[in-house]
């Protein structure tokens, strides 16, 4: 099936599963990346990602193309699931920790790259939750500004402004 069609045309019931499978293939790493960035916990991110795809699968007939792309719809569901998980964790007063990075550079990797990653992570830690959410949607989720606007229910120009402000703040934090 044409990938573009999956995102814009409501699928007949018989092909819903196939369409959903393509959507999954296309978005799974990005959804996981976004959720894991937001939660900073790989185990929880796996649960929440699975939960988000299951919710999306069960609600797939409620998707309306007029209300945005399928990616934005899916990320909206994933965001809600992640925020619910964050709230639960707040109630449980669990100490949040950064995920163990399995993709961390090996000792033989370039020291400069490792240092840069550490710097970026430290800078990310200085952002507040909403800023981290925005950065995660943009860079881990790979969404366009229009799609982010749909997910966050704000205007595209507002998304652009906030994104510019946040990434500038991040750059400054990297220099500090």
């Amino acid at each position: 099936m044409n990938e573009a069609l999956v995102g814009t045309v409501p699928l007949p019931a018989a092909t819903q599963t196939e369409g959903f499978a393509e959507l999954y293939e296309r978005t799974f790493p990005r959804v996981y990346g976004y959720v894991a960035s937001l939660l900073r916990d790989r185990s929880a991110a796996e649960d929440v990602t699975a939960q988000a795809f299951e919710r999306a699968y069960r609600k797939r007939r409620s998707y309306r193309p007029a209300r945005g792309s399928m990616d934005a719809w899916l990320f909206g569901i994933a965001r809600n699931a992640a925020l619910d998980e964050l709230r639960k964790r707040k109630r449980r007063a669990v100490l949040e920790t950064d995920p163990e990075d399995s993709a961390a550079p090996a000792p033989h990797d370039q020291a400069e790259l490792a240092l840069r990653r550490e710097t970026v992570r430290a800078a990310l830690a200085t952002l507040d939750g909403q800023e981290r959410d925005l950065i995660a949607l943009k860079f881990a989720g790979g969404l366009s500004n229009v799609e982010i606007a749909r997910v966050l229910r704000m205007s595209e120009s507002n998304v652009g402004t906030r994104l510019h402000r946040t990434i500038t703040k991040l750059r400054e934090a990297c220099h500090d």
């Binding site: 950065i135 860079f139 790979g142 652009g160 510019h164």
Partner: protein
């Protein structure tokens, strides 16, 4: 700002940092670093979730939500609320209608209700409803509480008639010798081919109840000229069953009745008669002891006057007694139009249209009532739902703060 964002998007698309501005280039590098640093799923997890998607996220048997959990789904809950509102509205509408019916029946049906409607009510009640009004006043006893239809018919009849003295002690408490003139007019409707038979039955019913036919005229020709009029006298004590039997002979189109209390006239005449008799007795005693012819003559002349007065009063009392002992009942026989309804399946096209209109009006009334209840509740539910959504959204967003 737009240029910077575009440059960042370009870098993300191409993976190349190529802007002239050092600061923008730095931001492009940062964007690429952020993307490169995005967490990636493990192979094992990716395979597991892929299988889940392929299987359509099947849940093990028995994990289906309980019925009450399904009821809590928004669509089911809204449907249930809507159904409950509709049921309540329909029930309220039905109660309202029945109470209106009762009210109109109990209050005499209002000025707009016609005598024919009341007569029809009497027919519906087995012909006894309309007749029941008479004995209540005539007997001076309270009639037993009848069926609703009979009560309505009674009230409807009252609405179109002169005031009939109510039953028992209501009108002149303590007077058991009340004298009331009663007159009843009935219009019976019967097919032309049954006209003669009904006419005979009217006479038979009158005789059976101890009354008599003062005059009658019956025509059994074609539909236009067929008809009949009866002037009946029926003992007041038998008026109720007689009217019931007469009403059962044919359809009652209209019924009217009137009553006039003549007790005062009766009492006055009796008192005057008693006084006249006493005077006559006195005159006779004086006549016995009269000593002169002139005196005797004067007494005789006075006796003649008193005798005339006594005769006149006697006649007046006899007339009053006749008028109150016997009720005047006039029965008019009318030919029934063939087109008029006769049974459930009968009725003209106009009647059917009228019935359909009435039905539509009733249904529309019910819908309006239902909407009157459902709309405010629906708006409240909508406002609550929207408030809940906003609250839920705020609570979720609070996780980021």
């Amino acid at each position: 700002m737009t240029d910077v964002l575009t440059a960042i998007d370009d870098a993300l698309d191409t993976g190349v940092v190529a802007d002239d501005d050092p600061m923008t280039r730095e931001l492009q590098e940062l964007a690429l670093a952020l993307r490169a640093d995005a967490p990636e799923p493990t192979q094992m997890y990716s395979e597991w979730l892929g299988q889940q998607v392929e299987a359509g996220f099947r849940k093990p048997r028995g994990s289906k939500p309980a019925w009450w959990q399904r009821l809590l789904q928004p669509a089911a809950a809204v449907g249930m609320v809507a159904a409950a509102v509709l049921v309540i509205a329909v029930a309220a509408g039905g109660l309202s209608r029945s109470s209106n019916d009762d009210a109109s029946g109990g209050s005499g049906g209002g000025a707009a209700e016609s005598a024919s409607a009341g007569a029809q009510g009497a027919t519906d009640a087995g012909g006894g409803g309309g007749a029941a009004a008479v004995p209540r006043a005539a007997d001076g006893k309270s009639a037993p509480a009848g069926a609703g239809g009979a009560e309505r018919a009674l009230s409807s009849s009252r609405s179109t008639l002169p005031i009939v003295p109510p039953a028992g002690r209501g009108f002149a408490p303590g007077r058991s010798d009340r004298r009331i003139e009663r007159s009843v007019a009935l219009e019976l409707e019967t097919p032309v081919d049954r006209m003669a038979r009904v006419a005979e039955d009217v006479t038979a019913v009158t005789n059976r109840h101890g009354g008599f036919v003062l005059s009658s005229s019956v025509s059994t020709g074609d539909e236009d000229s067929a008809g009949g009029d009866f002037d009946l006298r029926i003992p007041a004590t038998r008026l109720r069953p007689a009217l019931r039997d007469l009403s059962a002979l044919a359809d009652v189109r209209t019924q009217s009745q009137s009553g006039r209390d003549v007790t005062r006239e009766h009492v006055t005449a009796k008192d005057r008669l008693r006084a006249a008799r006493a005077e006559r007795r006195s005159l006779l005693r004086r006549l016995e002891v009269a000593t002169t012819d002139e005196e005797a003559e004067a007494i005789r002349r006075r006796l003649d006057l008193v005798a005339g007065e006594i005769n006149g009063l006697r006649a007046q009392l006899r007339d009053l007694r006749l008028r109150t002992d016997y009720a005047v009942v006039t029965v008019s026989l009318l030919a029934k139009d063939h087109n008029e309804g006769g049974g459930v399946g009968g009725g003209s096209f106009d009647d059917a249209l009228g019935d359909a209109g009435d039905l539509l009006v009733t249904v529309a009334g019910l819908i309006v009532r239902a909407l009157a209840v459902a709309l405010p509740l629906g708006l409240l539910a909508l406002a609550g739902w929207l408030a809940g959504r906003v609250l839920q959204r705020r609570r979720r967003e609070s996780a980021l703060v």
